[in-house]
């Protein structure tokens, strides 16, 4: 082995290698840029992910504000309360309770109201981390009975200042300070309103926590002995109801952690897609670079150089270029990482410090080596096929299959799969992604082949177009590679864009005129008539429809308890979450039966019938006759499925209920009432003011305002995704440039022949422009086709919204792509256009 290594090193010709690296600067530059591009986004994401994870792990206790946290959307069950008391009594831990909910607050000395996010906390909160205040004073020194701490946004929107008073529920409280940071909510992704901290001593005075209220109940634990942490958590877990949850700071996955996990996961997929396209660019650029060396290699072989000699020396050339590209990629990736704070803004926790870790650097170097090796093997191995007789006959010859090519394909496939699994850490998701990418590239390849085959046979009379088409198919033109790469990359970007437009159109811009735009919740039964009277003052076109709601959770199906942990691990909806039940004896206007003859049997054969929505069938294959056990305020209720409903309206803005009971079953259950209203937007504020003044416990939500806020958040995230997706387009652009350089000789010849035969420079330029326009147009058209199909399928089957092809925007996307490809292609062709024919003729007759 050592002897073999020595023999290989002995084959190296340093002068030749050095000269090869420094000549063919343009193709070498494209190759280096492709290597760098393949790594830039992955290095940036890995480095950023490391920095975020370090911050989150370091501050894990602060993120939870406790060692252990118990939470529930319902009042804590008796066994849990008893267990907590026992733990406190045994001196194992100190506890603090918090209550989080939305409610409308009012200016104490005015009428203005604002939907806010309230958090009532006991002394002790937070056990870890600090709630920092604008004044710099300690949190619990300010948050005393009668005083609240609020977010600056509340002061701005209600035109208040510290010292003013707020009406919250039945209590009038004084604003004591402004909160600037919460340890367990370092990032404010989206809430229904600004934060207000309230001391627990004021909780009863608020009179806001009632039956049916939507409250997040939390109990925080600070253990007295760290070694008891898991034991205490296990004791609590043993008495939990399905709707209750416990987590230690080690095991918890907070909202912040989940957000960054999902964001980095998605961006990682985009980065791997970019890597794949850049890898195709590496292969294309190297092939072009080696084609320029065909004559040299043939001459070397006539002088006695063996295939091994040629391979070893060109491997050395590629390695040097690869190292330069790797270093450039790592450096640019680390710079890109610095852009994350700009891109994410206040989505980024303030305690995240972006540092360069040795691990990131090592990973970058390893990635560079592997990428260069995998994507350069095939062109290097193919050097063996070049015979010395190429000097005399420059035919390309038939490509011969070798078993070494199969090995290279296996290596490439293993590398790509390994990359995906390393990034995603999930086998099933990884395989889906690989399948998706391969499917996309295969589809792009198939469509490219078909379209180019058809175009090549199209009868064309216009001379410039005809010459341009011939140019697309000149030898060594990487037309197929360019179209496949560009169309795949652009297809993804177009799809994201079209999807965003359609989601915006469905949920933000084209809000249905007849859809509710305000919701009034937490109406107690005895308040209903009074609220109806207040609503009537708004002179609505249609009377308000009051709907009873009962909060419940599912505990068992057909007698079998549900597995809460397994349910919560599902992506999307699950059976362990709280549900809102309602009762009504008839179908709503937008409902229809899909199973069962009637909504409920009228013969009294079923004691507690329930009708379910067909969306529930995606979670479990419910059958008519199945028994579902609900828990309503601690009381079990077993109901039998007697029908399945579906929504007949495509627009999902009207309220709907997964479970519908007959009135007789739930009429007496603890309930609150809500109503959804359609009214003039400028009437919502005054209505809210009137209702909250009379009934402080009732919450009025302006839906369009909420949707606008959510849309703004979504748009920020889409901008981040779009920014990263642009890197994949860069790969296509580099391949365009590489192809222009690779076919330089042929283009020069064409240009000279045109001029010698009497064409002017304008004609030559127009032919090249037409060629690039065709190239860009073909790639963009294919991309648009795939994007339209993809976004239609997502809108139709995933989001279940109407699809609009947005013709204008689509044409715009195609036009921008054509302009981009033409710009790049013409920039790379400038030297050809500018050269005089006689100089080029001399260059052509001189073979070297």
């Amino acid at each position: 082995m050592i002897a073999s290594l020595r023999a290989t090193i002995a084959l190296l010709h340093p002068t030749f290698i050095r000269r090869q690296v420094t000549s063919a600067r343009k193709q070498s530059t494209v190759l280096v840029l492709c290597v760098a591009l393949s790594m830039v986004t992955l290095v940036a994401l890995r480095g950023f992910g490391d920095s975020v994870n370090r911050a989150l792990i370091r501050d894990a206790q602060a993120l939870q504000a406790a060692d252990i946290k118990v939470d529930s959307n319902f009042p804590l069950s008796a066994p849990l309360v008893d267990e907590i008391a026992a733990i406190e009594t045994e001196g194992l831990a100190t506890t603090a309770r918090t209550y989080q909910f939305v409610s409308v607050v009012r200016v104490a000395d005015g009428e203005e109201t604002l939907l806010s996010n309230l958090k009532v906390v006991e002394p002790g909160y937070p056990f870890y981390g600090e709630v920092t205040l604008a004044s710099g004073r300690p949190f619990h020194a300010v948050l005393q009975q009668g005083t609240v701490v609020v977010a600056q946004e509340l002061l701005d929107r209600l035109q208040l200042q510290v010292g003013d008073r707020l009406q919250i529920g039945q209590a009038t409280l004084t604003i004591g300070d402004v909160v600037t940071f919460e340890p367990d909510r370092p990032v404010n992704f989206f809430t229904l309103g600004p934060r207000i901290f309230i001391a627990d001593a004021d909780r009863e005075a608020l009179d806001l926590i009632k039956f049916g209220s939507r409250i997040d109940y939390e109990v925080l634990f600070k253990v007295n002995d760290e070694s008891n942490l898991d034991a205490i958590a296990d004791r609590i877990a043993a008495v939990l109801e399905p709707q209750e949850d416990v987590a230690t700071y080690r095991s918890a996955r907070t909202g912040v952690q989940r957000f960054f996990e999902n964001l980095l996961l998605f961006l990682g997929l985009v980065a791997i897609f970019t890597l794949l396209l850049a890898g195709i660019g590496i292969q294309s650029a190297l092939t072009a670079l080696l084609r320029e060396r065909d004559n040299t290699i043939a001459v070397m072989k006539t002088l006695g150089a063996t295939g091994r000699f040629v391979t070893v020396n060109f491997l050395a050339v590629v390695s040097i270029l690869g190292i330069i590209g790797t270093l450039l990629g790592i450096g640019t990736g680390l710079l890109l990482e610095r852009l994350f704070p700009l891109l994410l803004g206040d989505f980024l926790p303030p305690n995240v410090q972006l540092t360069i870790s040795p691990r990131t650097l090592l990973e970058g170097v390893a990635l560079g080596i592997i990428v260069v090796t995998c994507f350069t093997l095939l062109p290097i191995f193919q050097l063996d096929e070049l015979k010395p007789s190429f000097i005399f006959r420059k035919e390309t010859g038939t490509w011969q299959w070798r078993w070494s090519y199969a090995l290279i394909i296996v290596v490439l496939a293993a590398f790509f799969t390994g990359m995906v699994l390393w990034q995603l850490q999930r086998m099933s998701l990884g395989l889906y992604f690989i399948g998706g990418v391969l499917g996309l590239l295969l589809l792009a390849a198939l469509l490219t082949w078909l379209l180019l085959w058809a175009i090549r046979r199209a009868p064309l009379n216009t001379m410039i177009i005809r010459q341009a088409l011939r140019g697309l198919f000149r030898p060594r033109n990487a037309t197929h590679t360019i179209v496949i790469t560009l169309s795949a990359a652009l297809g993804v970007i177009f799809c994201v864009y079209l999807l965003e437009r359609n989601l915006n159109a469905a949920f933000v811009e084209a809000y249905p005129e007849d859809a509710p735009n305000a919701i009034v919740i937490d109406i107690q039964p005895e308040q209903r008539d009074g609220v109806a009277a207040l609503i009537a003052e708004s002179n609505l076109e249609e009377p308000a429809l009051f709907v009873p709601t009962i909060r419940a959770s599912i505990t068992a199906i057909n007698g079998e308890p549900i597995d809460a942990e397994a349910e919560e691990r599902r992506r999307g909806d699950n059976l362990a979450r709280p549900y809102t039940l309602t009762y009504r004896d008839t179908l709503a206007d937008d409902e229809a039966l899909v199973r069962g003859d009637t909504l409920f049997p009228t013969d009294g054969s079923v004691a507690a019938p329930v009708s379910i929505l067909d969306t529930l069938l995606e979670l479990r294959d419910f059958q008519l006759g199945d028994r579902i056990t609900f828990r309503i305020q601690g009381v079990p209720l077993e109901a039998t499925v007697t029908s399945v409903r579906t929504l007949t309206s495509e627009e999902g803005f009207a309220p709907f209920f997964t479970f519908l009971f007959p009135e007789a079953v739930l009429r007496s259950a603890p309930q609150s009432i809500f109503t959804a209203l359609r009214m003039a937007p400028d009437q919502i504020g005054p209505l809210r003011n009137r209702i909250v003044a009379a009934y402080p416990n009732i919450t009025v939500i302006d839906i369009t305002e909420t949707v606008d806020n959510a849309a703004a958040v979504a748009q920020r995230l889409v901008r981040v995704i779009r920014f990263f997706s642009l890197f994949s387009v860069l790969a296509g652009v580099l391949i365009v440039i590489s192809s222009v350089y690779a076919t330089r000789q042929a283009r020069i010849q064409e240009a000279v022949y045109y001029k010698v035969l009497g064409a002017d420079r304008g004609f030559v330029r127009n032919v090249f422009v037409a060629e690039n326009l065709l190239l860009g147009g073909i790639a963009a058209t294919l991309a648009l086709f795939m994007a339209q199909v993809g976004s239609w399928a997502l809108c139709r089957y995933l989001f279940e919204i109407a699809y609009h092809p947005t013709i204008g925007a689509s044409i715009g996307l195609v036009a921008v792509t054509m302009a981009l490809v033409t710009g790049v292609g013409m920039a790379a062709s400038q030297s050809i256009l500018a050269s005089k024919p006689i100089l080029i003729l001399r260059e052509l007759t001189s073979t070297e």
Binding site: K301, L303, A305, F309, D384, P388
Partner: protein
């Protein structure tokens, strides 16, 4: 000893389904130290014959022997040392490696052999052909005649037994062409290297000891010149 032997070699190319027979049943031998001219009009197959004799290409049928060794079925790696040590090649279009200087181009075959004195030998050869002052220049900085001188030096550095020259003056003006031919012949006499030269020029062919004439891929004449090798007709 016959340094070169062609036994009934034929070459057929297949292009787009059509067969093109470039050489048809060509046989002859070449003795050590001979100066042979292979003559014929354009398309007669002379360059193809040269590529087969030198092992740069393989015949469709027939055998090629170099120094009584059958090279017909040898692999590229087996042919490499033969190309490096036994054969030298001078091309019509020079085919110097563009990224190497004149000196480095000449050194290259010797370096492949691992010769430590490659540079000294190369310098001496370049001095011999009057290029000693241009050793650092790259091919694009040299004239046609200068390039061909460098190419000749490169072909001779490993002292091959056979030198193949494919229209070595084809891309040169008459003055340079005569000078190059004189140089080739001088070196052939000095080193007793077998010289096989392809040409379409009867004047050039007349300076050879023996002329093999090809027409439509077949040998139509194989005659010794009455004139002594190298002399003007």
């Amino acid at each position: 000893m016959n340094v070169l032997e062609a036994k009934a070699i034929s070459k057929v190319y297949r292009v787009d389904g059509h067969e093109i027979c470039v050489l048809d049943d060509v046989s002859f031998t070449v003795a050590l130290g001979e100066f042979i001219a292979i003559m014929g009009s354009s398309g007669s197959g002379k360059t193809t014959l040269l590529s087969l004799l030198s092992g740069l290409d393989s015949p469709t049928t027939g055998r090629v022997l170099v120094e009584e060794r059958d090279i017909t079925d040898l692999s590229e790696d087996e042919l490499a040392p033969i190309r490096n040590r036994t054969i030298g090649f001078v091309f019509q279009s020079f085919h110097l490696i563009p990224s190497l200087s004149a000196l480095e181009n000449v050194m290259f075959p010797a370096e492949l052999q691992g010769q430590r004195d490659a540079k000294t030998k190369a310098q001496a050869l370049l001095d011999r052909v009057g290029m000693g002052h241009r050793t650092g220049n790259f091919p694009h900085q040299l004239s046609g005649g200068e390039k061909q001188r460098v190419a000749i030096c490169r072909a001779l550095i490993n002292e091959p037994h056979i030198l193949f020259a494919d229209e070595p003056t084809g891309n040169l003006d008459s003055k340079n062409g005569d000078a190059i031919l004189d140089l080739l012949l001088d070196l052939h006499r000095e080193r007793q290297t077998t010289l096989v030269m392809v040409t379409h020029s009867p004047e050039l062919a007349a300076r050879a000891e023996r002329v093999i004439t090809l027409h439509d891929g077949r040998v139509v004449a194989d005659a010794r010149n009455g004139v002594a090798a190298g002399a003007q007709p």
